[in-house]
């Protein structure tokens, strides 16, 4: 299968997972890790049940409840107040029991957002294929895995066969070079990328992020970048494994140990893209062009530096696009030419699979330290997992945040998509470290602006969008 032609990281992982190539080119692709949560799995389990099928490899599967879990007060399945949320979590717990699927209980310290806990537990490894019924599965690409979101029919397909029917994707290289400026983070990089290539720029492609700016990121930052690959429409977003990756994995609960680890590292070192490998498309960005970013519209591609002004739809020559831009401004209650730093916020959300890691909470706490949340602003901090929460508390970050007037909550997807009680009310405006600013995403009529954790904290303490570099 390998041949001698230079291959990309994606090509190598793909080739090593093809079980069989069907006559028309469709491949049966082997899946090394299947992550399961309560929202997209009930109909898949039901499908298995109706067909009298079982899971082929429960030992390569792990389930956790994350979307519906409350972030304060009682939070086990039976204690969830909202009936349909409770039923969905109870259904997951019944299904994992019936089908013998490993499950992390809600009160276990290892519970958390599925895309936070995979890497955290050492289950997401370089060179592997990882899927989940969730588009942000792209997160795990940061470790050099081919990781992508699937629908519920495909969840059922993986459960029954440990494979998926797939056609190869194209290779897209996104290279970011230069030293990231003060106050800028991985979130600003990925928002700038989506702003450049648009929300459909990656459709049909697997991205590989390259360049010294990406190399210099820690694993948390890399995960933020890979996480939002899907927001650029890409199937997956990979970063070649290197020493940073190996050091991150070493010693984690399920990671290979001792001699096995050395053997694994030797293999992982063969994965990076060969010199001369061909990418279908290449895009180059310079760190010098990246500032702390804020989205202004209702897709993640509508993003400007915090120092910028809201664009004018009249500058758009295409009539259809112009009307759509106007609709967005109406929804967001913004005016052309308005400075972002003049826009007040009501709610701050720091968390999600995009920015719910310990590094993100440290970044927020650093800005919050010695300051106070502005009057009338509600600021939530929701750690991505029980382990993140514990570590933050061990470091005293919870006290810094609480003293500043932030709320310190329990791990869950929370206000990223408001499937639990954390939601915006109509007309409320948020500065959110999550991944999507779609209409109604955080609650009916809610207005979402995507930002980095430091920028979210800066907005919390000033009550409006603020250039974090100005806070000192």
């Amino acid at each position: 299968m390998s041949g001698s032609a230079p291959r990309t990281l994606f090509d190598k992982i793909w080739d090593s997972h093809v079980v069989e190539r069907l006559p028309d080119g469709t491949c049966i692709l082997y899946i090394d890790r299947h992550l399961v949560h309560e929202v997209t799995s009930p109909q898949a389990f039901e499908g298995l049940r109706l067909a009298g099928r079982k899971l082929r490899r429960p030992d390569l599967t792990i389930a956790v409840a994350d979307h519906n879990i409350p972030t304060k007060g009682p939070r086990t399945a039976n204690e969830i107040q909202e009936e349909d949320s409770r039923i969905q979590v109870q259904t997951l717990e019944a299904n994992v029991k019936a089908f013998g699927v490993p499950y992390i209980p809600i009160l276990d310290v290892r519970q958390g957002i599925v895309h936070i806990i995979g890497p955290e537990l050492g289950l997401s490894l370089p060179g592997t294929t990882i899927v989940c019924g969730d588009s942000h599965t792209s997160t795990h690409g940061a470790l050099g895995a081919l990781a992508f979101g699937i629908g519920t029919s495909e969840v059922e397909h993986v459960m029954a066969t440990q494979t998926l029917l797939q056609s190869p994707a194209k290779n897209l290289r996104i290279d970011v070079s230069g030293t990231l400026g003060l106050g800028c983070s991985a979130k600003d990089i990925v928002l700038a990328i989506i702003g450049k290539i648009t929300t459909a720029g990656g459709t049909g492609h697997v991205i590989e992020f390259t360049g010294d700016t990406i190399r210099a990121l820690d694993m948390a930052g890399r995960m933020t970048v890979s996480n939002m690959s899907i927001e650029a429409g890409a199937k997956a977003g990979l970063i070649a494994p290197d020493q940073t990756t190996f050091d991150y994995i070493k010693g984690r609960e399920y990671a290979p140990k001792g001699e096995d680890f050395e053997r694994a590292v030797a293999y992982w070192k063969t994965l990076p893209t060969d010199a001369g490998a061909r990418f279908d498309t290449e895009v180059f960005l310079s760190s010098a062009d990246i500032a702390p970013m804020v989205t202004w519209g209702t897709t993640p591609g509508q993003v400007i530096p915090v120092t910028g002004v809201v664009p004018n739809p009249m500058d758009e020559p295409d009539e259809g696009k112009r009307a759509q831009l106007q609709r967005m401004l109406d929804y967001m209650a913004l005016k052309p030419g308005q400075r972002m730093t003049d826009v007040p916020v009501d709610v701050i959300f720091i968390g999600s699979c995009t920015n719910g890691r310990i590094e993100d909470i440290r970044a927020a706490a650093q800005v919050a330290k010695g300051r106070k949340v502005a009057d009338g602003v509600q600021a939530l901090v929701v750690p991505g997992s029980g382990q993140v929460k514990k570590q933050a508390e061990d470091e005293g970050l919870d006290r810094i945040l609480l003293e500043a007037g932030f709320e310190w909550r329990d791990p869950c997807c929370s206000m990223c998509l408001g499937m639990n009680p954390d939601k915006l009310t109509p007309g409320q405006r948020s500065a959110s470290t999550s991944n999507r600013n779609f209409e109604g995403r955080q609650g009916i009529g809610g207005r979402t602006h995507l930002v980095s954790p430091a920028m979210a904290a800066a907005a919390a303490v000033t009550g409006k969008f603020t250039d974090v570099r100005q806070l000192g």
Binding site: V19, E20, D24, T26, I28, Y30, V39, P42, Q43, A51, R53, R56, P58, D59, L60, E82, D84, Q88, T91, V101, P102, L125, G133, D134, S135, T137, G149, I150, G151, T152, S153, E154, H157, A160, T161, Q162, L165, T199, A200, T203, G204, G233, Y254, F261, R263, A264, Y267, T299, G320, K321, Q324, L417, G418, M419, R436, F438, E439, G440, R441, I444
Partner: protein
């Protein structure tokens, strides 16, 4: 899954780009453990006013589009989440075919799994079909998967591309899990090889 061979029906215009899956079905309706019953929440934010009444401006609240089986949209339809609730909601409403210049990948996949045919046609053709829809009840469009053509109300035929594997599954309403399970021996062989070459890959005891 129901077969998809030929469909003749009302085509509703939705001339918007980036119709994301949160627009198709907001997250608060994902708390179901069934595939059916989501049609009433399809396009909830655009279809209903804040008091729950119908928004008469929205196309699916207008005759004859209440009975639409085909949707015509602009670029990047179905972007965002992987939720299969989006095609389930469309199907439950009665939509069996979506025509757009392009689709987000996961939505595109999910549609096929549910017997909804996503057809990619150039923007100019989509705009022509949207213009045709002004004929109202007379705007009946035929989508012939066997011959790979969309037939406009005036009888003009527009060819479209589809990959043969998916076409076959759709035409025959095949369950692809059943198909893959026929390759069980190859999967066994793959797993055995992997156990040899990468014995360190972690497994988890239930």
């Amino acid at each position: 899954m129901d077969k998809f061979t030929t469909l003749t029906g009302i085509a509703a215009p939705l001339p918007m780009q980036n119709v994301d899956t949160d627009k198709v079905i907001p997250a608060r309706f994902l708390k179901t453990i069934k595939r059916t019953g989501l049609g009433v929440h399809l396009f909830d934010a655009m279809r209903y006013n804040n008091d729950g009444s119908e928004n008469p401006e929205f196309v699916l609240n207008q005759e004859p589009f209440r009975k639409a089986e085909i949707l015509i949209a602009h670029e990047n339809f179905g972007c965002g989440s992987s939720r299969e609730h989006a095609p389930w909601a469309l199907l439950d409403f009665g939509i069996r075919c979506i025509i757009a210049p392009d689709f987000a990948d996961i939505f595109f996949n999910n549609s096929f799994k549910n017997g909804i045919l996503p057809v990619r046609l150039p923007r100019a053709v989509c705009d022509q079909l949207i213009e045709d829809s002004k004929l109202g009840g007379n705007a009946r469009v035929t989508v012939d998967l066997e011959r790979q053509v969309v037939v406009r109300p005036n009888g003009d035929e527009i060819p479209f591309e589809i990959d043969p594997f998916r076409k076959n599954l759709m035409l025959n309403g095949l369950d692809d899990i059943g198909q893959t399970l026929q390759h069980g021996t190859a999967i066994d062989g793959y797993e055995a090889g992997k156990k040899q070459s990468q014995p360190w890959l972690p497994t988890i005891a239930a």
